[in-house]
């Protein structure tokens, strides 16, 4: 039981971001040597080393070291962009590290997504074989577990129907079910447990717990503190690509929750683009000064052209990517909002209704029946704290997974 399963030493991963052209075009790698040659002929000093590349380096992982013994269930937590998924991708051999190494003792299976490679034209049966093969299962293994997979997904009647006719719930159940029957010695799981309806989520969590109780080695990334609390014996907290803390579940989670800075507002600025008729310049999220459990989103944008139908849309998603809040400014009839010039509007997000967890906000301009006009990638997020301590948490029982959690109002009647 105590044999080493994973040994990670000084693992680092560097990405280059914001380079003007994400895939270097032929033009640049051809023109550079030519310019270099021309300078040599003209006896000019050589070009400085490729300045295009060096400016925007960023370490998604930096000097990460830890060891995992067989049978350990480890949770990995951290805010968005902390490097959790990058760590899993390096361990799963999907992307190679820039420095350091990881030794893996045993068969490692990675679950970064459910339903990878599912094809809508194929039947449920065909997709099970295809998807399980992609995830690394052997043919006889799939044959052996086929009935189990189908039964777990509760799709017996539709097994020979093309997946495109499935409801989204059935699709998600089948996808998860294949993944859940993966049987490696070391399992690496990214936030994939939150598919299907609530009943199926419970079942998936139960399955996951069963896997961990069997003494499988698991590395588990989740935003759900409750799930981590109930599965994992040890937790690694990442921030900015580094390990901040590595220790027993209760203390690391406790410190993580304490460390999050709620009061601070968060701002993202966007580059202006004179070619677009409407452009978002700044988005800012901050707690509502009147009721601090709500949040205020402020958007600053510039209007250059006439676009009668364009709407500013805001979507709030929870950690399982469920849309919990949507608003657009169509019913906000302020006369100035589309006049030429720069405007700032604010929107109140009623976070006091949301269940505890992390929420991300996306926003942008969108014209119905068109592609989004300007829908930037957002990294704005906020966290809703656990509001009440009940005996559930004292017994390590996760809070039921609900999307909304308004203040309960009890009254004693008689």
């Amino acid at each position: 039981m105590s044999a080493l399963a994973l040994k990670v030493v000084g693992l680092s991963k560097q990405y280059r971001i914001g380079v003007d052209d994400p895939f270097r075009s032929v033009r640049k790698s051809i023109s550079r040597p030519i310019r270099q040659l021309k300078r040599a002929i003209m006896r000019q000093p050589p070009l400085p080393p490729n300045n295009l590349v060096d400016t925007n380096e960023y370490w998604a992982l930096k000097d990460v070291s830890f060891e995992v013994k067989h049978g350990e269930a480890i949770g990995i937590i951290g805010r968005n962009g902390a490097g959790k998924t990058t760590l899993l991708k390096v361990l799963a051999h999907i992307t190679s590290p820039t420095e350091g190494y990881a030794d893996i003792y045993g068969r490692l299976g990675a679950l970064l997504e459910v339903g990878t490679g599912f094809h809508p034209e194929l039947t449920g049966r065909e997709n099970i074989y295809l998807n399980a093969t992609i995830l690394g299962m052997k043919k006889d293994e799939i044959k052996r577990r086929f009935d189990e997979i189908v039964a777990f997904a509760e799709i017996e009647r539709f097994i020979d129907t093309p997946v495109k006719r499935y409801s989204s719930g059935m699709f998600a159940r089948l996808a998860f079910s294949v993944a859940a029957h993966l049987d490696p010695e070391i399992l690496v799981v990214d936030e994939v447990l939150s598919v299907g309806d609530i009943a199926f989520q419970k079942k998936s969590l139960g399955k996951m717990e069963g896997v961990m109780k069997q003494g499988r080695t698991v590395l588990f990334v989740s935003h759900s503190i409750a799930a981590i609390r109930s599965f994992c014996t040890r937790v690694i907290l990442l921030d900015g690509g580094r390990i901040i803390e590595d220790g027993d579940t209760a203390s690391v989670i406790g410190n993580y929750i304490k460390s999050i800075d709620y009061g601070k507002s968060d701002v993202i600025d966007y580059h202006d683009d004179p070619k677009t008729p409407i452009k978002l310049l700044r988005a800012e999220i901050s707690p509502d000064p009147i009721n601090p459990s709500d949040y205020i989103l402020r958007c600053t944008y510039r209007v250059r052209g006439k676009l009668p139908n364009i709407m500013l849309c805001v979507i709030v998603r929870d950690a399982s990517n469920v849309d919990v809040f949507y608003a657009n400014d169509d019913n906000f009839k302020h006369p100035n909002k589309r006049k030429k010039g720069t405007h700032t509007v604010s929107l109140k997000i009623p976070a006091h209704l949301f269940a505890p967890g992390e929420y991300t906000i996306s926003y942008g301009f969108w014209e119905p029946a068109h592609d989004p006009a300007d829908f930037p990638q957002s990294r704005l997020w906020f966290r809703v704290e656990e509001r009440f301590v009940t005996r559930l948490s004292a017994h390590n029982i996760p809070w039921p997974s609900v999307v909304y959690e308004p203040n309960p109002q009890w009254e004693y009647i008689a």
């Binding site: 895939f23 032929v26 999907i94 590290p97 420095e99 003792y105």
Partner: protein
């Protein structure tokens, strides 16, 4: 124990690992074929309809109107014997070029030997090549061209063509990950190739002085080889075939190494 470490560029192919993943290759090929058939009335006919339509139009225009000299070989046989090889080459190379980029959803989520991805179109393409070959043999039979001893040689040019296609496919799929320009440039090269290779005419039509340069095109050797084997007329195209073999092997081995050098970076670049 397996060690994950920074990529060191040019490494040899892990044949054992490739063999362990043969089922994945099989399922991906099967999926592409299966999807091709679903929801179409004519099914597989669609994939050969395009080259067949080309063959018919070209036969009318070049065979009847322009009367391209063919040394008394029926013109439809000339066109079809060229298209069997070149249609395979161009369809597969086009698909291979986009294969890595189109498989981004797999490459960023699961690990498997990436060589499988550009190999899939090389295998699926064999289906339509097979159908086209059968059409060619039927048409040849209708023109009273019957099997002779030289037909035993038929698999050789076909095999060289497959290796050549795989080699070019590996190169363009790896290049297109980094330089999307490659995917855009390929149709142009393939179109030029249609005329720079003896597809719609016989290579004996090429003036003597041009023959040397012309035969550097590796397609020339395989097409000439196939026609010699099918019709058994003219001298054996030894030199062009040798060029094709050397080119196919060079492109194939260098393609594997180039691809291996790129594959560890692929998930980050796509």
């Amino acid at each position: 124990m397996r060690r994950i470490q920074p990529s060191r560029g040019w490494t040899a192919v892990d044949l054992q690992e490739l063999w362990d993943h043969r089922n994945l290759l099989f399922y991906l090929v099967w999926r592409d074929i299966r999807v091709l058939f679903s929801n179409t009335g004519l099914g597989i006919l669609w994939i050969v309809l395009q080259p067949l339509a080309t063959a018919i139009v070209i036969t009318i225009v070049l065979g009847y109107f322009a009367r391209v000299p063919t040394n008394n070989i029926p013109y439809p046989v000339v066109v079809l014997s060229g298209l069997v090889l070149y249609n395979y080459f161009s369809v597969v190379v086009t698909q291979a070029a986009h294969s890595m980029v189109n498989s981004a959803y797999l490459l960023t989520k699961v690990y498997f030997p990436r060589l499988i991805i550009p190999t899939v179109p090389v295998l699926t393409g064999l289906i339509d090549a097979m159908v086209l070959l059968i059409v060619l043999l039927i048409v040849a039979f209708l023109y009273n061209i019957l099997p002779t001893i030289t037909w035993l040689f038929l698999p050789i040019p076909i095999l060289i063509n497959i290796i050549l296609t795989l080699g070019v496919g590996l190169w363009v799929s790896a290049l297109n990950v980094q330089y999307r320009d490659v995917g855009k440039a390929i149709p142009i090269f393939l179109q030029i190739g249609t005329y720079a290779s003896p597809i719609f005419y016989l290579s004996s039509l090429v003036p003597e002085g041009w023959r040397g340069v012309y035969s550097l095109n590796p397609i020339v050797g395989v097409v000439d080889g196939l026609r010699w084997s099918l019709l058994g007329v003219g001298p054996f195209p030894g030199i062009p075939l040798a060029v094709s073999i050397v080119a196919a092997l060079l492109l194939f081995t260098s393609g594997i190494f180039f691809f291996r050098g790129m594959e560890e970076k692929a998930a980050d670049l796509i």
